[in-house]
Amino acid sequence: MWTGPGSLGPRLAHGLRFTEMAGSSVAEVQRAAIWRNVRFLRVVGQLVFAVVVVWAFRELYLNLEYGVRRVGTDLSFDFLQTRSGIPIKEGIAYDPNQSYLRAYVVAVANTVRVAGIGVVLAMLLGLVIGVARLSPNWLVRKIAQVYVEVIRNTPVLIQIIFWYFGILFALPLIEGGLSLGGVAFLSQRGAAIPWPHIGEGAGAWGLWLLGGLVLAGAVWWWRTKVNERTGRPHHRVLWSLPVLVAVAAVGYAIVGDAVRLDVPEVAGRLYRGGFQLSGEFTGILVGLVIYTAAFIAEIVRGSILAVDRGQKEAAQALGLSPAQQLRFVVLPQAFRIAVPPLNSQFLNLTKNSSLAVAVAYPELSSVSSTMINQAGRPFQITMLVMATYLTMSLTISFVMNVVNRVVTRKGEGR
């Protein structure tokens, strides 16, 4: 691998003149002029560069300090402790009398919420569309293609604003809102869907579940053994799943009130119960998921196509069924190809969540721009925001790197 200017440096850096290298006598070794010495030049060059960088940063800092003093503020982070007064309606407990720091924490939590849910949903939708693009069914294939071409080539910000102002605002008010069989609702106020509610007996039922899992695992192991010993079909899923379900059901009957489905209802002008999504959250989430899914679909499609044709044909030759070919041969290899680009899509989704500022969903970016307007400390706030996003990006990259290592090793372990 190329190692930069002077990669031949160490070899020529003895200060030997060329003639002497070819040369006659070791005693005549003479030092070359110091400015011809590559090693010396490298050190000096870097020193000069470092000095220039430090000097530039010092200048910028002095400008900043002067400018900040001129407008009558400072560069400290003390303002974070003062009362914020920013109204935030969503997320973890908060009231405007609390500090800027608390408002910031709430905003970060909201960003994590929208990015986390968004990544999962975008992945699912992208997988479906990506597979649809490879479908032998012409209609399905074409529709997936149109979806990708339209969504991918339009700005995500326009899409988010469209879903929020164009679609959600055009929905009926909550009184006449759409209702899906009386269990899920959609209106200008946002959406409400049924959600599991954890009851008092949840802990005890959890133990039952655990026991059921262990038992099902044992049955699984036993069927595998039977299959290995006698060669009869193992039917592991058919055997273990009923065991698990039976244990869980018995446990549920004995414990009572472990988990129940909390169905939302319309109460006046509000939703009550269930999992409620505000209009702003729905808008940004739908926008991000639909946009990112188009890119993920292309990654899925590309990765499946990138798996060598011979692999599938070999699997076929071994007599695997189409589902088995996909499950054991194509997808594991496709997944390995897909991990790095998926990582960058997840990062993009997280960073694009900053566009929530356009629909006033109170996440990091929109809260921080309010903070800049109110507290008047743009430098500290933008630095804080950048550091936060950087931390999130690095976390996602770290997780994906771990995933990458796992899926790569699986193949190489043999």
Partner: protein, 413 residues
């Protein structure tokens, strides 16, 4: 399994069974419509159900959409605000400058399309699609445009484009380098046309023009900066390497919106006292720096793809580091990055819509203000039109990229 396309192997096997003569390129028998439908829509029970379900949903949605577009929607708001959409508050007397830029870019786009294309390949299906698109475009233009003057101006765009495509195709061999040089020169020329000779200050640029100009500035300037950053990142000098990694990762770590806030609120403080840059110039600086970091990562990928032997060969024939990079490594590295680079430029172009959020009067912003007042206040028509503007440019760029990719054989080596 019935709903499965036979693979190459099966086809060959089947052919061998029936016909001992191996054809290298089996001729495709024309399929009757009924056979086509069976093969592509109802090849098995799963495929059949899928076709019916998807067809029903798409039919319902498509019908609703068409009904809305032709009966409910009020497109007069677009017609009334067309100039705002395109150029914002650009002085009407100076519009010839914009038209000159449009013609320049049209000619370049036509040439680029022409030189990457081998021959006309008109099939019946392609001709039908293109004809339908042309009719649709003409109908929309007929609705949107008023007056003979504008028709002549728009007609000139079409004529210039067609002429450039032809010229490009005829001179395909000789025109590659001139076209690239032309695109590089287009940036200063556009700025000169808009700004020079007592022109219009950047504060008055607006609408879609602003999106395009900011994108062009970002693309043209970030390209060399990105290459320098990428080379710096691969340098053996630790100080330079670490600085470049720091810059690239820090810039990429935060979203563009945060960087635009930085440019708007923090950058003025960092400049020496007395230096005041217009808002739009600061936004351009931010966009350029932001894009450079991404370009750097793309170029780094390309550099890593260059075979080690190429470096060694360059060394062996005694090239200096500069010459090795300029004549051996970078040409190969950049060639392999073309698809990624163009898709980055497309996304940069789309991201210029973020300017709307920080108060610039560009296309998306117009889409949000236009319906207020005498119109219904419904944003759907205006947003769709703004989206369409972006879509046309982005889609054309992505198609051109695919064509270039095929032509250069990227990914085949």
């Amino acid at each position: 399994m019935m709903d499965r396309v036979p693979t190459e192997l099966e086809r060959v096997a089947a052919m061998l069974k029936e016909e001992p003569v191996v054809e290298f390129a089996p001729r495709r028998e024309p399929v009757a419509p009924s056979g086509w439908i069976r093969q592509n829509l109802f090849s098995g029970w799963f495929s059949g159900i899928l076709t019916i379900l998807v067809g029903a949903v798409v039919g319902y949605l498509g019908f609703g959409l068409l009904k809305w577009a032709f009966l409910t929607a009020d497109w007069t708001v677009i017609k009334a605000n067309l100039r705002l959409y395109m150029v914002g508050r650009f002085p009407p007397d100076e519009l010839w400058r914009v038209w000159a830029c449009v013609y320049l870019v049209t000619a370049l786009a036509g040439l680029s399309w022409g030189v990457t294309r081998k021959r006309l390949a008109w099939t019946v299906r392609k001709a039908a699609t293109r004809g339908a698109l042309a009719v649709l475009a003409l109908a929309s233009l007929a609705y949107l445009l008023d007056g003979v003057r504008i028709w002549v101006l728009v007609g000139a765009v079409v004529v210039i484009y067609a002429a450039a495509v032809m010229a490009g195709r005829l001179g395909a061999r000789r025109l590659h380098i001139p076209v690239i040089v032309g695109w590089v020169l287009a940036f200063p020329l556009i700025i000169l046309l808009l700004r020079g000779f007592g022109g219009v200050p950047p504060e008055r640029w607006g609408g879609f023009l602003l999106n395009v100009v900011v994108a062009v500035v970002g693309i043209v300037l970030s390209f060399p900066i990105g290459i320098v950053l990428a080379l710096g990142r691969r340098s053996s000098l630790p100080v330079i390497r670490v600085s470049c990694i720091g810059i690239i990762e820090f810039v990429r770590g935060a979203p563009l919106y945060t960087w635009l806030l930085f440019g708007l609120f923090v950058l003025p403080f960092l400049l020496p006292a007395g230096v005041v840059l217009p808002n739009i110039v600061r936004a351009m600086i931010v966009v350029t720096v932001f894009s450079s970091a991404y370009v750097a990562e793309i170029v780094r990928g390309g550099l890593q793809g260059v075979h080690l032997g190429q470096y060694e060969a360059a060394r062996a024939i005694g090239l200096s580091t500069t010459k090795m990079m300029a004549f051996i490594v970078l040409p190969q590295a950049l060639r392999s990055t073309i698809p990624a680079m163009i898709s980055h430029f497309i996304s940069l172009f789309k991201d210029t819509s973020l300017l709307a959020v920080i108060g610039f009067i560009e296309a998306l912003r117009i889409a949000r203000i236009a319906p207020q007042g005498q119109f219904s206040g419904d944003l759907r028509e205006t947003l769709i039109f703004a989206g369409l503007l972006f879509w046309m440019v982005a889609f054309a760029m992505s198609r051109w990229s695919q064509r270039l990719e095929r032509r250069l054989g990227v990914g085949e080596r």
